[in-house]
Symmetry: D2
């Protein structure tokens, strides 16, 4: 027998190709193309996929999908909000599909959200085509939605926030976001955080294949600016990889009673959830928190060994 | 501008296609095909890939790769070996590439390893083409290597083991392994475990997309047979998904001093590693252990809600 | 240098996969999905592609595209119509997108067209989404459009035709058309052809890779029933292969003055075009005719050596 | 029913991707990789494919395959050799796999062949791995094989030839061949042709999708230099497209008795074949000749309308 490939297993149909790295693709079967077009800033596709339901794709990269966006967004939002002592005012940079906003608005403590997404076109498309992502959040009276550059706005605004959430597209050369991953930007953001405030940012892939692409550099850079920094990681199926985040605590807050966030007992997290939120979450709870904040050895080593500090002059880019 | 797809980004070259689910493919760029052929039991390809180096593919599914097999194999072997009170005799079912064997042989405490891989052809190919995987383990005097059916052998052998490791191909309909994932088989295996002995098995994908395919059923089935059962999960890049394992403790051992394996302090694990192993491991340590054993909420819920018990009459299959 | 594949050339975006054979795919970049759904008989996709513009895909196979359907349809229709002595009444089997109809209606001599396409759903979709294909033909007063089985209709209808055009989907096992490629069907069709009438059918791929799949058998079968048979072939870009047709002349007509169709001088064809048609065609003229009817040596040999006669009991299928 | 794509038809295995245009790929299943590497000039892959057998791929583009290279090479060589009045001395530019040489050496009239292929590495690999392509031709005493630039050599050599065959890789920007498709080069070549000599070159894709990429410009350019020029086209399965050639006659020969090559009766060609060659050819005969030289209408129109003349200063490139 000369050929190990089963003749009966053959490819047909419509598929979306996406590069995970230059040598590895994730390929999704497409049921339909709900929208395809170009805004002022980027190409936008909303695909109906078999595996993930509706999927938002910006400049060819999957941003969030109906099936698993709750894993990404709960992981991004809740550690910051739950461990913020007040959690009254929240700044969101990016997050155009509205799901970060939706998670933030679950907190009754939150009185004001300023959300800046540069690309009004994307926000409008998500509002129309991805209702589950925002769940009406765009109509919430606590929201001030602006379509401006987040860095410029933060640098000049007159208020400060309890929580700053950076739900940005990856730092791509020539893209709209790479100046929101630099030391200079984090210093600006810190200056608009209240005492004890928390900043959290998505930080790129965390898998063994490509965790040094930007995650370790972002973690190192933030740790230069903030007194306490926590990289953490969650597996996101639609990204086919472990995904990284970095959370940082500002000085001056009550802190976490001397317990580092990575060591918090699951029961403490679960207690905060039942006190601060009207109901349980789908992905995030005490044990999920412990998983997220207990990094694989290679990530801890990689962050420890990282020497790059991302600056305006030496930004970091993803492939 | 009519087209959001960048014209300059075009696909060329040689790629290996692999189904993660029926609607999702992982596609790897191939540098070379080191071997392609068919043994008595299955097709075997050894590919040289850009992302993962040498990769062993059986019946079209990636089994382990040079880049990240240490993550898979350390996760499979070390929790069982470290928490085995004696760890003298070890049974390995499957594991043809020799990497499970390599990890087991790191322990000086291990005096005897019986390894059964049905497919002598695969073992020979791995011995030749994947030297890093076995690292000479096939020549270790402690090894008895046999090419027989693991279930038949266990049922009739006269000895018992401290640790049984099941490093099997996924349960595929008509494939060689699905009868090694049933309650009847686990009862046979338990009968050949020493008091306090440990059984561990790979248990299929654990990502949100397909964790109910077989992982939850295997976990439930094993928990019917053993007094203490621990499902755990690690992200394996070459599988593009979180991967599941199930570890079970037999009655009669010293146990873990009343501390459940999932709650063990990282320092305890690290202490065992320095006591029992000649040097640190690459992936597995105390904090990686905590990550692996702290399951995402959906997995805990899914395992809790699972009602399927896998039996010889009602086996479970992966797609 | 270890890798010959240029790193900069990478695949992204949305693509339609189509099997040319089981080991060869044509893959088209998709701009948008205009329609995707299922009628009573088959799946229908209308894709907007970069290479071919709008493309009609039935059961996963490209049927005709905006860019090059004129090549396919002119090749199918005009040899039959031009060499029909009267060309007043025309029967079309299949042809749901309306382009065969459009070509037929170019002839003022045509007084009546009976078109049977089983699948009303496809016809409606093409009418809506592919206006260039039918160009208003569905509203022409000469047309009687029916959604019934063509074989059943021909067997029982009371009229006969000058030209019968079979623009059918390929004969697929279990598909709607394979009983329209058998000797019994051709005998029925012949019985409804006027003296000197012409039958023409599409007949599957004609490239060196797969011309024996069905083309040679169809040609042989038709030659058993008709006194004069002409296989011919045209390259259709969207099919990525040479495509076969078979034309047959009924007894009793003036014929072609003893000149076989394959030997006709280009000037004769061009003269007929200027006499019978209001204007030139895009693809078909005297020299294109000579190309189409001058078959490559392997096709002539393959047809000569073919022994299969397609019957109701032994139908022919494409993969 | 929500999805028209049959769930059972799924892609697996190893495939070679190749761009036909930037929006269209041909994808071949690979059985094995016989060779992959890089010479001084280009990357070379010899793939064992299911559809085409052994396939030579240079810089990612299929050059010729075991299954159908006879179609390409017979089409390239025999019109030129058969209509050359003497056919004693032949110059081959390129043609590293040796199949053009093999076809030339079929003629007993041929006394001397000078073959220049820049890339000795490719020639050696083909000699070793593609024995059917050259069939021993490299050992023929009539051959002088050199590894130098064909233009430089022709410009300075002291002899002239009856036939010049240009079997070059496509003109790619930065590639080794684009200066062998310019007016200046054709003038050099003409100066080394004997009276009545013939030059023939491969000339890129001729399908409706991309015939203007370079074929029309090459045809126009050659017609500026030679008194009689014949573009012709053959469908090559492994290229998934119609392929173009241009043949040109030098002044001073007996010519073809006033009959243009495109109008020659099949019987005349067949007569020459039996007179000049020891046995029939596989693809090329009188009727295949008529097919090749009877161009589709769009090609004749495209060549007629072409205004580009390819010069050293304004070369033509394929994508």
């Amino acid at each position: 027998m000369s050929d190990p490939s089963p003749e009966s297993a053959l490819p047909v149909g419509k598929w979306h190709f996406e590069l995970v790295t230059t040598d590895l693709m994730a390929v999704y079967r497409i049921r339909d193309i709900v929208h395809t077009g170009t805004t002022q800033y980027q190409t936008v596709e909303i695909l109906d996929t078999h595996s993930f339901g509706l999927s938002l794709v910006l400049d060819g990269k999957t941003q969030s999908t109906e099936l698993d966006e709750h894993i990404y967004h709960e992981s991004l939002v809740h550690p910051a909000l739950l461990f913020s002592p007040r959690a009254e005012s929240v700044f969101i940079g990016g997050g155009g599909e509205g799901a970060t906003l939706r998670e933030v608005l679950r907190y009754d403590s939150v009185k004001r959200v300023v959300m800046l997404d540069l690309d009004e076109g994307v926000v409008e498309l998500c509002r129309t085509h991805l209702p589950g992502h925002h769940d009406g959040g765009f109509d919430d009276g606590r929201l001030e939605l602006r379509h401006e550059d987040a860095r410029q706005y933060l640098a000049t605004c007159q208020e400060s926030f309890d929580v700053i959430i950076l739900d940005l597209v990856d730092p791509i050369e020539g893209g709209p976001s790479y100046m929101l991953y630099t030391r200079e930007f984090y210093q600006i953001a810190k200056s608009k955080l209240n005492p004890g405030g928390i900043l959290v940012t998505q930080a790129g892939p965390a898998g063994f294949l490509n965790y040094t692409e930007c995650l370790t550099a972002i973690a190192r850079t933030i740790s230069e600016t903030f007194p306490e920094t926590y990289p953490y990681a969650t597996y996101i199926p639609a990204f086919t990889t472990l995904w990284g985040y970095v959370l940082a605590l500002n000085e001056g807050g009550p802190g976490t009673d001397g317990v580092r966030l990575a060591e918090i007992e699951p029961g403490v997290v679960d207690g905060l959830i039942s006190k601060r939120l009207p109901r349980e979450l789908r992905y995030y709870d005490g044990i999920s928190h412990r998983r997220m904040f207990s990094l694989p050895k290679y990530l801890r080593q990689g962050i420890g060994a990282e020497e790059r500090i991302v600056t305006d002059e030496n930004p970091v880019f993803m492939v």
